[in-house]
Symmetry: C2
Amino acid sequence: MAAFEGGRGLDAFEAERVLSFDNGRAATILGRFHSTGDGESAPVLLKLSLASPFTTPDELLQGLAGMDLTLTNYSGAEYSYYDAEVTSGLCRYAMEVISPASQRQITRATPVERYMVEETEEVFREVVLPYQQHQAGKIKWIESVVSLKTEAERNLFIGGSGLGFVVNIDTKWTSHARPISADPTVRAGWHKAPWTKDLYLLAISRDPSLLSLRDLRGEEGAELCDSMRQALEDCARTVYGVPKRKLRIFFHYQPQFYRLHAHCTTCNFVNPGCEVERAHLLTTVAANLRQDGAYYEKATLVYTVREGETLCKKLFPGELEELAHHQEASQRMAAGDEEARAAAAAAD
Amino acid sequence: MAAFEGGRGLDAFEAERVLSFDNGRAATILGRFHSTGDGESAPVLLKLSLASPFTTPDELLQGLAGMDLTLTNYSGAEYSYYDAEVTSGLCRYAMEVISPASQRQITRATPVERYMVEETEEVFREVVLPYQQHQAGKIKWIESVVSLKTEAERNLFIGGSGLGFVVNIDTKWTSHARPISADPTVRAGWHKAPWTKDLYLLAISRDPSLLSLRDLRGEEGAELCDSMRQALEDCARTVYGVPKRKLRIFFHYQPQFYRLHAHCTTCNFVNPGCEVERAHLLTTVAANLRQDGAYYEKATLVYTVREGETLCKKLFPGELEELAHHQEASQRMAAGDEEARAAAAAAD
């Protein structure tokens, strides 16, 4: 087909099926053009992706004051949510306002560079282990979670091999139906609900000596992996109707907090946190431990650190200044700063 | 701060810095509300994300015919690209039209379920190896690429340990400046260009006996990993100014085609294809081979297969009907079919 120029070329398009519809922001439509006698009745794909009316940060800033806001949700504290219409009302943003915003919230909202680290056995012992032990000493909340004194309504299982573990509904699973309750009648309504596509469970070890997968050893470690995997699969199937073949079950290294815990999500979507340099499948970890009981004592583990975080400063202090140069230009470029682009292209 | 109701609440907002601006589709802005005498001068974060004017697939279909199209790019064949304005002109979609669309293009555009597979040594030998060998026999183009008869303008390096490999600019790197040329003057302009944030290089083995990482053995295999990694790091640094610490270098298993090849991307973004169940870091592969030369001969490798693809049918034919049930409801749900949601919730 020749491309059509201008005007309402889609008048002649007959849609057959919407193949995908990501909240209207991206969509794929299968159809045909009306046969106009020249034989154009072959299948046609339309792929749409929503574009912003603002092409530069400055345009967006200028558009802000003209937006009409409707409050959609209010936390009662610093968070409020709005539907923000741009002038005509046809173009809308969902807007979250954090006021007042803490330094921590500002830091988290600021894009940072990530750098790759290769943590050898030696680097682990000398640099990372002391850091992990120090951090582990600060998480007082973990004992009350694994003993069900808190978050009991989120608990789906307690038991398992060794000192055991709990399986909880992850707090990041925000599409989960409310209320989250241990009441069997409430839970019966969760089975095969549409939001189970976002499944996110957590298995947290009760053994305080296990800070991360670095501490797993031999058959005992492999059995704990198998046991956690089995419990997560059982909970996913029985509580949510999600089959084992849909599950990605993995540890993070480095983890968010230093008490061994496994994540369980569905594999259809690419969630942040499942990248090869962060995630370790329990299947692989168990197999590695059975092949060499000291695998995770000796292994070089590769992961990313964020510019500015403690481990980054501890691991390669000598390189930071040089990398910061690259980072600064890159951050300003991400924010649409054309001068930074030019400068980065010119510099060497 | 109390949430504000209705109207132009942002009149009083003073922007300080745009922290992120993802093509205007998502943005984070740091600022303050004008002090109005009640002490509200703390930092404030606004997080915006563009919302579609269409909340259901039906609304989108009804809106199609009213869109005003402007041709932005035309391949000369079945691909054409438009700026599609929704009525007012303030809300726009970028639209790709594929006409005529092949069955393969339709299949690729249709969301499919993915299922987890654990490929043991035995399953590899009996089911997967014959499939790999059959597929490898079909890729005639690879020899002309690795001997630089084709795609020579994309080549950055040829050499390396063993039978060697080439390092090429991946065709998926679509933001790369044009023309792609081996001319040193042209290439000098690539250094530290803003689009290098999307860096995507490929190292492809010249050894036809290496179909995938399953075929790597011992020190020889480890050296090939090291050699590929070194060459990719060198090309990224010298040609594009991207430092080693920004690079994720990995094999896919299963790969897209059966000739050993390593991918090299930047680690700041989560690209599809870097998930733990698909990607294997060359650092880890080399270390595993040095610890046990037959690691990849014996390992159980975990990956996902797409419903309907050959390996899926070969690997678990007995489960497919049951899983298809789950899949069908899920697909229709993704397309916004409310009846499918209700049926899935009711069924068991």
